[in-house]
């Protein structure tokens, strides 16, 4: 469970997050939508401290992650992250991309790590690409490997930062399918996305962020079907 209380984040004079309070329950799938520059990616990146919050509190399973006494690496082990631009390690094969963190962080032995990696590749449908280097994969394939890489650490929570925004349209589906499967398995997920159809289908709850605040939230039916705020209506009218 993630409990965010009055989260603020500034970059210099730019106040990006202006007080977000939100609770994400176990096994909940939360989609975050909103205009560009609204702070939705920053919000996500604060959850695993890729951005350091300016003020506020973030409790993950009761542990205050903004407290410097807590080991940030341990906290991140438990939260997988998938990036817009994949960020696979280009100097390593697909298999090594996936096994590196389990081996070097958790000390899993090579044989076990590779066996697990192959299982994960099967799950994302890329077993035959194990020995290939990332440059030789399509964007959709790279993103599926990135998801497998994050899953290899057995996280309880997965964070997705616009996972399909850098993909060619015909590759969006294959990535969304993988995320959809994870949702069915009960993974706790926070997904920043511009895919409204996908958000509507997969989310338990949708947050509309604008101006660094959660302006409106609710089930997909509520938020997409009957938005209350004027800004939400305007945004949805433009993207739907």
């Amino acid at each position: 469970m993630i409990e965010v209380k009055d989260l603020h984040k500034s970059f210099g004079k730019l106040h990006v997050l202006t007080g977000i309070t939100e609770t994400i329950k176990d096994q909940e799938v939360v989609c975050v939508i909103g205009p560009s520059g609204s702070g939705k990616s920053t919000f996500l990146r604060c959850l695993n401290l890729l951005e350091e919050p300016t003020s506020g509190s973030i409790l993950v399973d009761g542990v205050e992650i903004t407290d410097e006494k807590n080991d940030v690496n341990k906290i991140r082990e438990n939260m997988g992250m998938v990036f817009q631009r994949f960020n696979l390690f280009p100097h390593m094969s697909v298999l090594d991309n996936i096994t590196l963190a389990p081996m070097k962080v958790k000390g899993v032995d090579k044989a076990k790590a590779e066996a697990e990696a192959m299982e994960l590749l099967k799950k994302v449908g890329l077993v035959e690409k194990a020995k290939v280097y990332p440059d030789n994969l399509s964007g959709g394939q790279q993103q599926r490997v990135a998801i497998a890489r994050a899953l290899a650490m057995h996280p309880d929570i997965m964070l997705f930062d616009e996972p399909t925004s850098a993909l060619d349209p015909e590759m969006v589906g294959e990535v969304l399918n993988v995320i959809r499967d994870l949702a069915k398995e009960g993974m706790t997920m926070v997904i920043v996305t511009h895919e409204m159809g996908f958000a509507r289908e997969v989310a338990d709850r949708v947050l509309f962020i604008d101006g660094g605040k959660v302006l409106e939230q609710g089930t997909p039916q509520e938020l997409f079907g009957n938005p209350q705020q004027e800004r939400t209506k305007n945004f949805l009218a433009k993207v739907l």
Partner: protein
């Protein structure tokens, strides 16, 4: 002219040792310069600025004649000195270390920020991310400028002739002193340098191509 090749052996020896030591110094200084710990940043900045900002020729003279002179005047004992090879290796290593530090630093900074973020998001410490993700990519990327530094240093070892290191140039000068034939001597000297630097660039090129084929 067989003696030119004896000189070449010494040039190669000094260059090879200085580049190896220089790479170690360079890596340490590059990481220091990028460190969060400010005293390390200051030390590496001072080191890099001082060694890049003064001529190698002056550094050789300062180390070989200036430092022993200072020490002898301090404790009143005369006769302290460095062997010419000690000076050659120490000064060339320190000098190339400063340039290599900047090469490594720019290499590290050229790696996309997303690489570090991806590594950290998997629970890797900063050190582990550097070691397994950033440095392997950075080192590969800096091979061309590193090769360039290698060639520059090899040529610059000719400055060591001034303190009497019998490297390529010095052997040529000795030859002139006995034969009074400067043209063949200097042409010979220049040719040996050219052969060496050309060989280095070919070998590095080969390694680069092979590396690029094996991964990525």
């Amino acid at each position: 002219m067989p003696r030119l090749w004896d000189g070449a052996a010494i040039t190669i020896k000094i260059t090879a040792i200085a580049v190896c030591v220089g790479m170690v110094i360079g890596m340490v200084m590059a990481l220091s310069k990028l460190s969060k710990i400010w005293p390390l940043r200051i030390i590496s900045n001072v080191y890099i600025e001082c060694l890049r900002g003064t001529p190698l020729y002056v550094q050789i003279l300062l180390f070989h004649f200036g430092v022993p002179g200072l020490m002898n005047s301090l404790d009143g004992v005369s006769g302290f000195h460095f062997s010419v090879m000690t000076t050659a290796i120490v000064v060339c290593s320190l000098n190339s270390g400063a340039y290599i530090a900047e090469i490594f630093r720019s290499g590290i900074q050229s790696i996309d920020r997303g690489q570090m973020e991806a590594a950290r998001s998997l629970g890797m410490s900063h050190t582990k991310a550097m070691r397994y993700i950033i440095l392997p990519q950075a080192v590969k990327r800096v091979i061309p400028p590193l090769c360039n530094e290698f060639i520059v240093l090899l040529k610059d070892t000719s400055l060591l002739a001034v303190i009497g290191v019998t490297e390529i140039l010095k052997t040529g000068q000795i030859y002139i002193a006995t034969t009074y034939a400067p043209f063949p001597a200097y042409i010979g000297v220049a040719s040996v340098y050219l052969i060496l630097t050309f060989t280095i660039s070919r070998v590095v090129n080969y390694i680069e191509v092979k590396w690029n084929m094996s991964s990525k």
